[in-house]
């Protein structure tokens, strides 16, 4: 699946988008998997209360299932308007 990062999450991880092969069944499992990769992921995902997640471009929760999902995006709380 495609994993996208925005705002400071993108800056901390250092890339806007990557393809991830995973057996994770929930967003939380994917996060745990990414955190074990490298320190920059560990830093970016250190405080999940400061993060939001979207699945296939719809806001969702960290316990959401990943089955059939094409795109997951992580970002800070939005500041539109």
């Amino acid at each position: 699946m495609d994993v996208l990062y925005f705002a400071w999450v993108r800056e901390r991880i250092g890339i806007p988008k990557e393809k991830v092969e995973t057996n994770a069944t929930t967003v939380m499992q994917l996060v745990e998997e990414l955190k074990t990769r490298e320190e920059r992921y560990e830093v970016a995902f250190s405080d999940l209360s400061a993060l939001r997640v979207a699945i296939d471009q719809e806001l969702t929760d960290f316990d959401a299932p990943l089955e059939g999902v094409r795109e997951v995006a992580f970002f800070p709380p939005m500041t539109g308007g």
């Binding site: 471009q57 970002f75 939005m78 500041t79 539109g80």
Partner: protein, 147 residues
């Protein structure tokens, strides 16, 4: 209903006039415009708004559709910019048309509250000291609970 996400500036006067004159039997037109102000600590050179291209349009349309379903509206307009902006530039506007003003005002406030914290935009302020992401405010999240 019209929802526009764009990098280039929009002409507020033209948009408001076109929106207001496009309807019959609408007794109330409300418009709101968001303008770039200085950073809280001052000295802002520019602001850059990042967004999530695949999601932004859909998220804004969903918010506008929800407003139409909750209030008796004749029409809704949402324009939101991204990219580089300077102090005094218009970031976004909403307009609502209704037979009566209460619906038009309330729906415009609803749109604004949701645009603040449910539309995938992120603001970064550049000052002489460097750049900082604007933090979301608790009160903006709390504002959603009144709807």
């Amino acid at each position: 209903m019209r929802v526009v996400v764009q990098e280039e500036p929009f002409d507020f006067g033209h948009e408001a006039q076109a929106f207001a004159s496009g309807h019959s039997n609408m007794g109330a037109i409300v418009t709101f415009t968001g303008v770039v102000r200085d950073a809280d600590k001052g000295g802002m050179d520019r602001m850059v708004i990042e967004h999530y291209p695949g999601m932004t349009q859909k998220a804004l349309e969903k918010i506008a559709e929800e407003a139409v379903s909750r209030w008796d509206l004749g029409d809704v307009l949402v324009i939101h910019r991204h990219g580089e902006l300077r102090q005094g530039d218009m970031i976004m506007m909403v307009a609502t048309a209704s037979r009566h003003r209460v619906n038009a005002f309330e729906a415009a406030e609803y749109l604004m509250d949701y645009l603040k914290s449910r539309a995938p935009f992120w603001k970064k302020e550049y000052t002489a000291d460097g750049a900082e992401w604007v933090a979301a405010k608790d009160e903006d999240e709390d504002a959603l609970s009144r709807w």
